[in-house]
């Protein structure tokens, strides 16, 4: 559906315009991957500058650290992704665990009004901007990282790309983009009122990244 | 005024060796309203052993018409200037905006005129704004120190963004002993003149000029110095209207007066 002839008329006008030959830009190659250590450090400083919390859970089990976070943040209900983290079971004094395993239409009321925190697994991260990547909506529903007031994200620091260019070069996105690829750099925020930064505008007001050695 | 930004502004310019002769393009503003500044340019250069040639048939670079959307009229005026500067000497222009017009816009004005384009291009290459000519080419020695004074420097937008000479005047003034040069708040902002803009949009122009003058006065400087006659007309007019004691002076006049050896 389009306005009648709009497509043809617009394209015809553009084609009637004088042609120009401007070569594709030669873009500098993605920077050489620094060491894992340096990339992690860069990522961490970047995302912390965006007001996220990063907790290194590699020396302990991430479940232990998660329990501490839930206690500290008084998380009463925690929503998990559809199939991942199957071995995460409720623990004494811990939050009620809910699983995002049906279409959102059946979860909406709960998701918007009854869930304190969403738990997701990042598909990677970008060092130079401090950015988490969620690249598979099948595994990680889009709204799980968006709707609950707290977003807890597990990240394996071995999957940190040096830059966005690096990520584009190393992933199969160019051949097959996921229906939704999401980059996250910190909690939701706005400076729309008198340039004063406020967190938790429409998305999570807190973002907690747990560094794990694998889930 | 008008800033052409297609040329890489960060590309440093190659300067010629100190010449024996130069042309002076005096600008229509200095001709009528501040000839002392033009004479000071001559005095400064002659003291450094440079002969200054001032073609008597020069009038204006054509900028007022050009920036108002009248390229034919600008071309008619500019075309009369071209043959006056046909020699090889550098052309010293004591104004960033006229310098910018000649350096960047004359070649465009004559782009379709095969007879005049080579001369317009040759002139464009030889145009030097006064402060860059003094700093990078003449490298003057200042015979006299002058008394302790605090001045505030206003740099025109064309010097800053079109001629890329915004640091030259500052560097020159820094060479003078006993002189404190201060910068006003929002130093890089326009004074609000803009040629025809000041007439087409008088309220806007006045509002911008008024803020600039506030900032200049807030520095408690005794004098304001600028290398652009257009900005000086606007700022001095505004200062005078509000009864301020502060006045602006052309860089050339300031340099000459301050460093003149006692007679």
């Amino acid at each position: 559906m389009s306005a009648p002839l709009a497509r043809q008329r617009i394209l015809a006008r553009l084609r009637a315009a004088p042609p120009q030959d401007i070569p594709a830009p030669t873009l500098p190659l993605a920077p050489m991957p620094a060491s894992d250590e340096i990339r992690l450090d860069q990522f961490r400083r970047g995302i912390e500058a965006f007001h996220a919390e990063v907790i290194d859970a590699r020396q302990r089990t991430w479940q232990t650290v998660l329990a501490e976070v839930c206690a500290a943040k008084r998380i009463g209900t925690l929503m998990l992704p559809p199939a991942d983290l199957a071995d995460l079971n409720p623990w004494p004094g811990g939050p009620r665990l809910s699983r995002f395993d049906r279409p959102i239409e059946m979860h909406k009321a709960e998701l918007f009004d009854a869930i304190d925190a969403g738990l997701t697994i990042a598909d990677g991260a970008i060092a130079d901007t401090g950015t988490l990547i969620q690249a598979d909506p099948r595994r990680m529903p889009r709204t799980l990282s968006l709707v609950p007031p707290i977003h807890i994200c597990l990240l394996d620091p071995r999957c940190i790309y040096p830059s966005l260019q690096g990520a584009l070069a190393a992933t199969p996105w160019k051949q097959a983009m996921p229906s939704n690829l999401i980059f996250i750099s910190g909690p939701s925020k706005t400076a729309d009122i008198q340039q004063t930064m406020a967190y938790g505008a429409h998305g999570p007001r807190e973002l907690i990244v747990l560094l794990t050695a694998g889930t | 005024m008008s800033a052409a930004l297609n040329e890489a502004p960060n590309c440093p310019r190659r300067y010629p060796a100190k010449p024996t002769d130069v042309y002076l393009f005096g600008t229509c503003v200095l001709d009528l309203f501040d000839p002392e500044a033009g004479v000071s340019v001559v005095s400064l250069l002659e003291r450094e052993g440079i002969r200054v040639h001032y073609p008597q048939d020069q009038t204006c670079c054509g900028q007022p018409a050009y920036t108002s959307g009248f390229p034919d009229q600008a071309r008619a005026v500019a075309a009369r200037q071209l043959p006056l500067f046909a020699g090889d000497w550098p052309i010293v222009v004591p104004s960033g905006s006229c310098g910018g017009m000649m350096r960047h816009h004359w070649p465009r004005l004559f782009a379709d005129d095969p007879a005049l384009l080579p001369l317009a291009t040759s002139i464009a290459e030889r145009v030097l704004e006064l402060s860059e000519f003094l700093l990078h080419v003449v490298k003057p020695r200042w015979p006299r120190a002058g008394a302790a004074e605090r001045v505030v420097l206003h740099t025109s937008c064309s010097a800053r963004r079109e001629m890329n000479t915004h640091l030259s005047a500052r560097a020159l003034l820094a060479q003078l002993p006993n002189l404190e040069v201060v910068l006003q708040d929002h130093e890089a902002e326009c004074c609000g003149f803009g040629g025809a803009f000041s007439v087409k949009h008088p309220e806007l122009s006045a509002a911008i000029a008024s803020d600039k003058v506030d900032a200049l006065e807030a520095t408690a400087a005794t004098r304001m110095v600028s290398a652009d006659g257009g900005c000086l007309l606007n700022l001095n007019g505004t200062l005078q209207k509000r009864g301020s004691a502060l006045r602006g002076e052309h860089l050339a006049s300031f340099l000459w007066q301050r460093t003149q050896a006692p007679a």
Binding site: A6, A109, M177, A191 | A8, H53, F70, L204, G237
Partner: protein, 475 residues
């Protein structure tokens, strides 16, 4: 209703210049945004290299625009995104009304989209009995106040928190006055959250469209953009035809230029790449995604190789943040959807040069806009081009309304100027007379002396001074 329009620019300017509170608020906001941006580009060389890339990506994309639009369309369709074309705002509004109606929606929840402002979508929807709710906090505030955005990135930049506190207390049911920014934001969050949950149609703009993958990219901080494009059943995106790039690797330079130039951020909170509706096995996401491609005069600017550069714009707003005129009057006075320097060069091809004749002259040509533009649009040069067209002094192709800015007095003045200044002997006579008459300088010289002392010629012109010197030294 006396909404600002570009044709009343002078009156609009006088109104806002008389309001010191508003002026202080703009100045503070622009200083804030300039400082934020400056902190992101500490090294001039690195910035120059990056903007040269940005410029070339945009110019390369525009050079191939018709072909890229077809590739984009084919790849979007392959991804299950439906593509619609509109030549005019009216056509675009009708398309969107149709789509919303078919989705059974009586409300459209909107993410930030300047193109939707450009087509005045909210009015059109309301006229069709469909509500429109802005969800970006700034846009929500502006809509609640019955106003339009005054800045393309920070729509409510003209309002103080006290203004917003009063507005919320008046207009949002059950809200008491609070001027705590956190509390005000939480009020907005509560109101809009219910709408995100229950509304069937979401609308967004597009920051970059990638042809080779059929992807729509959206930049935002609040999460409302993700809400609008994810939770409702139907997502409608609208964008201008110029926003397309060829390849995925063209995104990173533009993205970093955009976020750093706009709000001084290395990255925004969210960067959302949408390449289709919910797929089999996915548990959320819209069931339908539509893209409306709008022309609205863009192909007219495209036809002129000189004005084509206006289409390079990535809508960062840096030019307005650095503009001495915008900083004095803010966005509303322009009376156009896009204010500031970028508005001065894109509004003529959208609205014609008759309505915008006072906008193309409203610049001192200081060059600050061109200096900060992340894709190197030569805004001052384009204003010169548009002034020539407005005065009827340019060759075809011309925008609608070319020549309508021509005023007899001004044309005669410049003809007189050319006549006098192209005749050296006559000019010297003129300056001789002017200097001899300096005692008779009029105290009032039109608008010049409104804020300045009169211009008074010197006692002798530089020509005369140089002539008398010639006797002593060289000629």
């Amino acid at each position: 209703m006396n909404a600002p329009t570009p044709i009343r620019f002078h009156a609009n300017v006088r109104g806002v210049l008389a309001n010191p509170v508003l002026r202080a608020s703009f100045r503070g906001a622009m200083d804030f945004l300039m400082a934020r941006r400056a902190a992101q580009f500490p090294a001039a060389d690195a910035f120059e290299a990056l903007r040269a890339q940005g410029e070339q990506i945009r110019q390369h994309s525009l050079a191939r625009l018709p072909e890229l639009l077809e590739t984009l369309e084919a790849n979007l369709q392959r991804n299950g995104i439906q593509v619609h074309w509109a030549e005019t705002p009216l056509q675009a509004c009708r398309l969107i009304i149709d789509l919303a109606t078919r989705a059974g929606g009586d409300l459209v929840v909107k993410g930030k989209s300047m193109v939707s402002e450009e087509i005045e979508l909210n009015h059109a929807l309301e006229a069709a009995g469909i509500g429109a709710l802005e969800s970006d906090m700034g846009e929500y505030i502006v809509q609640l106040a019955g106003e339009k955005p005054s800045h393309i990135i920070m729509p409510a930049i003209h309002k103080t928190k006290e203004d917003i506190a009063r507005l919320f207390a008046d207009k949002v049911p059950g809200v008491d006055y609070t001027d705590s920014v956190d509390e005000l934001i939480q009020i907005g969050r509560r109101v809009l959250r219910d709408k995100f949950r229950d509304t069937r149609v979401g609308l967004s703009g597009v920051n970059i469209a990638v042809a080779e993958t059929g992807t729509l990219c959206l930049v935002e901080n609040e999460g409302n953009g993700r809400m609008c494009t994810t939770v409702p059943d139907v997502h409608i995106a609208i964008t201008g035809i110029e926003k397309v790039v060829a390849r995925l690797e063209h995104v990173p330079p533009l993205l970093t230029l955009l976020t750093r130039s706009a709000t001084g951020q290395a990255a925004t909170t969210y960067f959302n790449w949408i390449s289709g509706p919910r797929r089999a096995g996915e548990l959320d996401g819209p069931r339908e995604v539509h893209l409306v491609l709008l022309d609205n005069g863009r192909s007219g600017a495209y036809a002129d190789i000189r004005l084509r550069a206006t289409l390079q714009c990535i809508r960062c707003g840096a030019c307005m943040n650095h503009c001495p005129v915008y900083a004095r009057i803010g966005g509303h006075a322009y009376g156009t959807t896009y204010p500031g320097p970028i508005g001065q060069i894109v509004s003529p091809h959208m609205l014609g040069l008759e309505a915008t004749q006072d906008l193309v002259t409203a610049s001192s040509l200081c060059g600050a806009c061109g200096e900060v533009c992340p894709v190197k649009i030569p805004i001052p040069d384009l204003l010169l081009q548009l002034r020539q067209q407005s005065q009827g002094n340019a060759a075809a192709p011309l925008l609608p309304g070319a020549g309508r800015g021509r005023k007899a007095l001004q044309s005669i003045s410049y003809q007189l100027f050319a006549w006098l200044y192209a005749r050296p002997a006559l000019y010297r006579l003129f300056s001789f007379v002017a200097t001899r008459l300096r005692a008779f300088t009029p105290a009032r010289q039109g608008v010049w002396t409104g804020s300045r002392a009169p211009l008074r010629p010197a006692a002798r012109s530089l020509h005369e001074r140089m002539k008398s010197r010639a006797g002593e030294s060289c000629a």
